[in-house]
Amino acid sequence: MMKIKHEASERHVLTITVDNEAGILAKIAGLFTARGYNIDSLTVADITENHAVSRITIVTHGPPAVIDQIHAQLDRLVPVHKVVDLTEAGPHVERELALVKVAGTGDARVEALRLADVFRAKVVDTTTSSFVFELTGTPDKIDRFVSLMRELGLVEVGRTGVVGMMRGAEAA
């Protein structure tokens, strides 16, 4: 009997600077599907004044050899300027933004607001029976907040996915 085997994997955050040209996102996302790599989150926005360069942050997971292949495969795409594996490179910050809608009245509503304060979430919209919270933090912090809100009338969650950057004065 043959079974499909799965290997132990580790999580890595990659930042990729690319020429801001048509199809580049499809090229990168497609590379991941074509070669069987995982994408946990992907964010992209242009980062230069003349809109020529975009920065993509991808959170992926896989065995170390696969992570190394992902790095090499991305690096050889013509529009890719630079790939940095933040997880490999050292101390870095990761941030994600979430919008969290919670509906309810009475004690649940009060408790939601109180917890939002603990997590330093901002109220960006409210009705008499709902809030929309804006929360920034590590993916882990957002996970915990969302899980608490689940008990207090969670309606909807939107997350940006991770952006990351090396600590210190230098560019990665």
Partner: protein, 580 residues
């Protein structure tokens, strides 16, 4: 001085500026402006194929045999999708191609217009890079960059998709190299510390082996010369992948033959027992390594490659050297200096022991021509002419790799990575155009040759004296062989029923047809093929049941080779069946 020109005209000028002699193509609605710009232009010769797959493979054959990039021109939709197999083939085998596809006008893109296909989307993962040109003013720079990308670094195909309105619209054009930023900078020479370490490993190895691949051919004829020089200095034996055949002369005493699934016993055993492997321009393909966890378990591995993504992809290596094969070989030779080679007598004696197994021996057959013998005779009778050999894919391809021998690069054209049946005939046509004075032979099988048989007409039209040598066993032989080995000889759909009469078919296309039915006619038939000044199909009827050995069965190690005469019929476990 700049002037106004149409996109189509800028394209033609840009191709001329790149030194393009031939364009392999097929016209259609969305490329009519380009075909009109080519009309009457004597600077570029257009080779009209019979199917766009033929155009792409012909361009590959031209590129592989000349070292120059192949250029393809096809229309939108089916024109582009038909070319995709050839593009994917060139991507796998690192062949420089620039493929120009017509596209529906910009305003119709995305509307499911007539003959619309998302060519850039479809070819995204089988090209090194691709472009959708939105403005004719970008064309000159794009074509210039496309040729740089296709031909430098690890070579590969680049697609330029040009909407019809962009071909017609005017833009200002200036003669001379276009101004553009250089954003593609592949590695060239290896790091000197790595070179020094490699030399130290080579100088101290007791059982070293060179394992070379298509990268040595792609690096240019100089790389093959340097390879020979380094081999002479170190004395290490040498084996090659399918794609690398010809980089090292097959009559050299240290030549072990091809390695891998259908490689020689001595090559595979030497790989398994080596204490140092120097991989040069090879990528540890599954057809080469066999079972990965049993691949050369005791060796230190040096991997010289221009493509970072080929390093540690399947086999972890100890010393990667990123760079162009020729330049790195030059560095290694210089760093070797006047060292003396190790005494490898003991290692070579072990290799001689493996050679003595005579893994390429095959049984005598009194009733039918053994296909191996047919290739041996073809080799002997054409050897003096230093022919270019193309192949299709299957048993005949492996027999050609085993029994035909090569002494220089760019003489061997085969579809290695993608394994594309139908590659050989158009590739031979492209090679003949690039090498008009060479004897070009497509060694084919009865099934493969039918996959692009329509290209017989192309050779007729352009008066190309290509030869097609069909080893006709009335089977998709490699499929049948695997069914014999793996599925208890349940020959599901592998019989070549209703074969055409290849001699009459040849004649119908204005070719000469020759049938060889017995061993007694073999040499005369081959000689008649060589002597005929025009194109020839030889229908060589061979032993129907012959199989291709030696063989490392699916899921086995280099040390578990099957040789001719071993008991092979039977079945396999699921894990072995699941391997490709």
């Amino acid at each position: 001085m700049s002037e106004e020109r149409s996109g189509a005209s800028i394209l033609v000028e840009s191709l001329v500026a790149q030194g393009v002699e031939f364009v392999f193509g097929y016209p259609g609605g969305a490329v009519l402006p380009i075909y009109d710009a080519l009309f009457g232009d004597a600077r570029i010769r257009h080779i009209l194929v019979r199917h766009e797959a033929g155009a792409a493979h012909a361009a590959e054959g031209y590129a592989r045999s000349t070292g120059k990039p192949g250029v393809v021109l096809v229309t939108s939709g089916p024109g582009a999708t038909n070319a995709v197999t050839g593009i994917a083939d060139a991507f796998m085998d690192s062949i420089p191609l620039v493929v120009i596809t017509g596209q529906v006008p910009t305003g119709l893109i995305g509307s499911d217009a007539f003959q619309e296909a998302d060519t850039v989307g479809i070819t995204r993962h089988c090209t090194k890079h691709n472009y959708l040109v939105k403005d004719p003013s970008e064309l000159a720079a794009i074509v210039d960059e496309a040729f740089q990308i296709a031909t430098t670094g690890r070579p590969g195909p680049v697609v330029i998709d040009i909407p019809k309105d962009v071909q017609i619209a005017l833009a200002s054009w200036t003669a001379g190299p276009p101004q553009r930023p250089i954003r593609y900078n592949p590695p060239t020479t290896g790091a000197s510390r790595d070179i020094a370490r490699a030399i130290e490993l080579l100088a101290n190895a007791k059982a070293p082996i060179f394992y070379t691949g298509g990268g040595v051919i792609n690096s240019g004829p100089r790389a093959a010369e340097l390879l020979r020089e380094l081999q002479e200095k170190t004395g290490a034996p040498l084996t090659s992948t399918l794609m690398g055949l010809g980089a090292f002369p097959a009559d050299h005493p240290d030549w072990l033959g091809m390695l891998g699934m259908h490689g020689t016993y001595e090559a595979n055993m030497a790989m398994n027992r080596a204490d140092l492997i120097v991989a040069i321009g090879a990528r540890f393909d599954d057809r080469v390594t066999g079972r990965l966890d049993a691949f050369s378990p005791h060796s230190t591995k040096i991997h010289i490659d221009i493509d970072r993504a080929s390093i540690n992809k399947t086999v972890p290596v100890d010393l990667p050297i990123l760079g162009d094969c020729a330049l790195v070989l030059e560095q290694l030779i210089e760093a070797w200096g006047s060292r003396k080679a190790q005494d490898l007598t003991e290692w070579k004696a072990r290799i001689d022991g493996w050679r003595a197994r005579k893994s390429l021996a095959y049984p005598v057959n009194k009733h039918a021509i053994m296909p191996q013998l047919a290739i041996e005779r073809l080799f002997e009778l054409t050897r003096a002419k230093d022919p270019i050999i193309a192949t299709e894919v299957g048993q005949h391809q492996m027999w050609a790799a085993q029994y035909f021998h090569f002494f220089g690069p760019n003489k061997w054209l085969t579809s290695g990575g993608l394994g594309t049946m139908g590659y050989g005939l158009p590739a031979a046509i492209g090679a003949q155009l690039g090498n008009p004075d060479s004897l070009v032979i497509d060694i084919a099988g009865d099934a493969s040759i039918q996959m692009n048989i329509q290209e017989l007409g192309t050779a007729t039209q352009f008066r190309l004296p290509v030869k097609v040598f069909v080893l006709n066993n009335e089977w998709m032989g490699m499929v049948r062989q695997w069914q014999e080995l793996t599925y208890e000889s349940r020959y599901s759909e592998s019989y070549s029923d209703s074969l055409p009469d290849f001699v009459k078919l040849a004649e119908a296309y204005g070719w000469k047809g020759i049938r060889i039915e017995s061993e007694a006619d073999l040499d005369a038939g081959i000689q008649a093929m060589i002597d005929h000044p025009g194109p020839v199909i030889v229908d060589c009827l061979v032993a129907k049941e012959a199989n291709c050995f030696p063989m490392i069965p699916s899921g086995a190690a280099h040390t578990d080779m099957i040789l001719y005469g071993d008991e092979v019929a039977g079945t396999m476990d699921d894990a072995a069946k699941a391997l490709v």
